[in-house]
């Protein structure tokens, strides 16, 4: 019960930091999941976060996988609800208010101001993430090759991710 309550608290809190996307919240997720509660090791968190990139739908549903590993199926349900419902209600409420907010001058200021901050937070999250995921020459090659391929072609990235998994099975044991 205590673990479920802690999972609910942590993931509801993290969900409010996902400005612009899940990566913004990653450094704080690492603090909470790895250091404070010790639910996972640092490499485990990186691996589980990465499986989100293979999934259809919202990538951050990987929080349900953390719940499943920590506390079984009830943990998965609690993490998913905690992460998606409170911000969902907020979005619903602001969506309803939008007609009134449309001509509020600060709205444009918030949108313009948060755009670069969201990108900075995502880059900060990626640097934190890459320190664990890119160790050794092969992972660096895979990472840079995927970056170049995704930035320059229109091929669905899921193929690169699956290919990298196959390479991992043979070469990263």
């Amino acid at each position: 019960m205590d673990t479920l309550a802690a999972l609910a608290r942590v993931f509801a809190y993290l969900s409010f930091l996902t400005i612009g996307g899940g990566m913004a919240a990653y450094p704080e997720m690492k603090v909470q999941v790895v250091q404070v509660h010790r639910w996972l090791t640092n490499p485990q968190l990186v691996h589980i976060y990465s499986t989100g990139q293979m999934s259809p739908g919202p990538n951050m549903m990987m929080v349900a996988q953390i719940g499943q590993i920590v506390s079984g199926f009830p943990g998965a349900v609690v993490c998913a609800l905690a992460f998606f419902v409170p911000t969902g209600i907020l979005t619903f409420g602001i969506g309803r208010l939008w007609k009134k907010l449309e001509h509020w001058p600060w709205r444009v200021s918030i949108q313009k101001g948060l755009a670069p901050v969201a990108i900075g937070l995502a880059i900060g999250g990626l640097i934190t993430f890459g320190r664990t995921s890119l160790t050794g020459w092969l992972t660096l090659v895979i990472g840079f090759a995927t970056f170049a391929a995704v930035a320059r072609t229109k091929i669905n990235p899921v193929f690169f991710i699956l290919g990298a998994g196959v390479i991992g099975v043979f070469a990263l044991r």
């Binding site: 990139q53 999934s55 259809p56 900075g120 900060g124």
Partner: protein
């Protein structure tokens, strides 16, 4: 609102459409899948309304995929539509992740799964970097934007302020910098550009 269909879809139709999007949108870029279904195939929204929904989603906490589901579902069928869209969008990924968690928890599969995930994590890093590289190239303009990106990165990785403090401090400074100007000539035009820059 020229191409907007007259007939509003049922809650069940909303659920099934978002369930389909939630099940097939592999490889990130859920927004592109959403646009393909909601604007092109179902014609539930026109491009202008879809862009508006997307730009609201970007500013709010929570993910684009689920925020668009909620805002779109609400416009189609109120709170029931929003709930149906959200549930449909999330259900396939939830099942995928529970199954992944069960496999991961099995110790017999551990060494093999860990090896595969090392490769997956390296590729995911490249994918995420490319995604943010594209977003940055499209939506960053001028000195202040560059400054706030750098400030946020340094706040997280160098000064170790943590996400909440960095978000509040740099976010407040950025919003204040872009505060409403009394004699702004063409804000509507600039905002349109910003919205388009997200796509």
């Amino acid at each position: 609102m020229l191409r907007r269909s007259v007939k509003k879809p049922s809650v069940l139709a909303i659920f099934l459409t978002f369930l389909e999007i939630g099940a097939i949108s592999f490889g990130g870029g859920v927004v592109a899948y959403l646009r393909e279904y909601l604007v092109r195939k179902k014609k539930w929204f026109d491009d202008v309304e879809f862009l508006e929904i997307t730009s609201i989603s970007n500013t709010l906490p929570g993910l684009n995929a689920t925020n668009i589901a909620i805002l779109g579902g609400d416009r189609l069928a109120g709170w029931a539509g929003a709930s149906a869209a959200m549930l449909g969008m999330c259900l396939p990924a939830f099942i995928f992740m529970v199954l992944a968690g069960i496999v991961y928890s099995q110790s017999s599969a551990r060494p093999l799964a860990t090896a595969a995930l090392r490769g997956v994590a390296a590729a995911a890093t490249g994918l995420l970097a490319a995604t943010w590289f594209k977003i940055g190239k499209r939506s960053l303009h001028g000195f202040y934007d560059a400054f706030f990106v750098l400030a946020a990165v340094l706040g997280i990785n160098y000064f170790k302020w943590g996400v909440p403090i960095t978000l509040l401090a740099v976010g407040a400074l950025a919003i204040f910098t872009y505060r409403p100007q009394p004699a702004e000539a063409k804000p509507a035009h600039e905002e349109d550009e910003w919205i388009h820059s997200l796509h």
